[in-house]
């Protein structure tokens, strides 16, 4: 190969690439969303069917709830997915950068506390017992320390890492302070790692979103939670109806009001709420009930 042919080949390659690169683009505009890995699959499922019907390109990133707000408040994204409400620091940053937004609930989640299916002693725990296990500085290392009637089986804990909205929510409602937790447990941002960990450990315990439990219910056992008014098992109905206290939680998207001025952003959000049940079924989430849907559509109407 002479130098000249090499250069010519390079130039041709460059030209083709530029042509290919500029050939894309869509008719329906584009929407950028980023944020929670829990909410991500829901928005992705919505984006898929929305694309089929409207031709708009929606990108959905998974930077975590906090990472999503960081970008959102810099004005980099149109929609921020969140598994907890926006916190004070984030509100301040948004304000500083002049990003105004509306909060919409898109699904329900039931944080599920799971144990191994080999665990035949525990079926229901109270919030106090969970707190005793997970509070900062807790030294509970055996099931018998949780409740005297439980066997002396080593207690091994698995949970999400600190970047997770699930972690924030669980520590908030169980330990009374978002982010306060014992730290000597096996932490992973990857829920599959938690599933594998609890599954393989007779005295294991972990917590994550309901959909991960649903996918693996053959190998895991979900505990009922007693939030003060009796034991309630995590389920779609209990999450919607609000009986599954305190671990039922709302899942949100935040939309910037500036982005809502673009028709594709507004119609995507409307689409997401109006097709709630099919999207939730497809992505295996706990859907909103009709009252919740109407309430959020009204919120959207107010700002558009």
């Amino acid at each position: 190969m002479t130098l000249r042919t090499a250069l010519a080949a390079g130039a041709i390659a460059a030209a083709t690439l530029v042509a290919a690169g500029c050939g894309g683009g869509s008719d329906g505009g584009s929407v950028t969303a980023d944020g929670s890995s829990t909410v991500g699959p829901y928005v992705t499922a919505a984006a898929e069917s929305f694309r089929d019907e409207n031709g708009a390109d929606v990108t959905v990133g998974i930077s975590g709830t906090g990472g999503g707000f960081e970008r959102f408040c810099r004005g980099e994204t149109d929609i921020s997915n969140a598994s907890r409400p926006i916190d004070e620091d984030e509100v301040a940053i948004c304000k500083e950068n002049g990003v105004e937004y509306v909060e919409l609930q898109v699904a329900n989640d039931a944080l599920t506390v799971v144990v191994s299916s080999a665990n035949d002693w525990a079926t229901c725990l109270t919030v106090d017992e969970l707190n005793a296990i997970w509070k900062p500085g807790s030294t509970a290392s055996s099931w018998s320390q949780v409740r005297a009637s439980f066997p002396d089986e080593p207690l091994e804990l698995f949970g999400p890492g600190t970047d997770s909205g699930t972690f924030d929510y669980f520590t908030e409602v169980i330990n009374g302070d978002g982010g306060a937790s014992r730290t000597d447990y096996q932490a992973s941002e990857d829920d599959n790692v938690l599933v594998q960990g609890v599954k393989g450990t007779e005295g294991g315990m972990g917590y994550f979103g309901f959909s991960y439990y649903e996918e693996n219910q053959a190998e895991l056992k979900a505990l009922e939670i007693d939030g003060g008014s009796g034991c309630v098992a995590p389920s779609v109905e209990a999450a919607q109806g609000g009986e599954y206290v305190p671990l039922a939680r709302p899942l949100f998207v935040y939309a910037s009001t500036e982005a809502l001025g673009r028709s594709e952003v507004e119609s995507f959000l409307r689409y997401m709420l109006e097709h709630e049940t099919e999207i939730a079924e497809r992505a295996q989430f706990v859907p909103l009930n009709q009252a919740q849907i109407d309430e959020n559509l009204a919120k959207l109407d107010d700002v558009t």
């Binding site: 130098l3 390079g10 690169g21 500029c22 584009s30 694309r51 959905v60 829920d191 599959n192 996918e215």
Partner: protein
Amino acid sequence: MSRRTKSRLFVAAMMLCLGVSFGTLAWLLVTTLIDGIPALSQQLFIDPPSTVAEEAGARPAILATVYLAALLLLMAVPVGVLTAIYLEEYARKERWYNRLLELNIQNLAAVPSIVYGILGLAFVVRGPVSVGRVLLAGAIILTLLVLPTVIIASREAIRAVPGSIRQGGYALGATKWQVVSRQVLPASIPGIATGSILALSRAVGETAPLLLIGALQYVAFDPTILGAFTALPVQIYTWVKLPDPAFQTLAAAGIIVLLAIVLSMNAIAIFLRNRYRQTW
């Protein structure tokens, strides 16, 4: 212990080492192939990703990886080769800044890829360049990542051209540029091509720097140079994390595709080396 026993023990130890590396590779390949082949269908190449495993493909990710490789070739190779020519043919080694330059390039080759990701996020995605989280940003970061390797490989190739070739050129009245462009460079193309392509195939499998600049996302449309993107290694990473076990199969199929891309790039490198090899 007799001399012969020692000798046999040494051979056994070498075999064991070979077995460990080769066995691991073979085991990985076989398990991935077994896991992934059921999902290796046309759908993988023509459909966008989906929340439902049965409908999911990796078209945007595969295309983006091909684009990244092409952009990388266009950016990293010319810059790398010209730098190598400067360092080998023009730079005067006794100047301190040239030695500093050399030292820096050697060190850069050892910087972990995630550091390039952070650099890219601060300077390419945001900051002075501010192109945003687009394919071009990914290509620029990967270019920075492979440049030191390309430079080092190209220098080796240029250095391997015997000095007598250059002297012959000068004796016939050629200028420095004529000697470099018509004698040295053509003679070193096999070495440069091999080194560059091996560096590129490493970059194509990189995940960490791309994660940092936001390639971790659902993208259903064909990538454009200035548009949002995801790459094949990142797509595999996403699939591995999903709850439905069917996605693990898809991830394995994705690995097979990535492996095929990387192996065919390596095959091109071997072909070029054999085709244009010169002996003096």
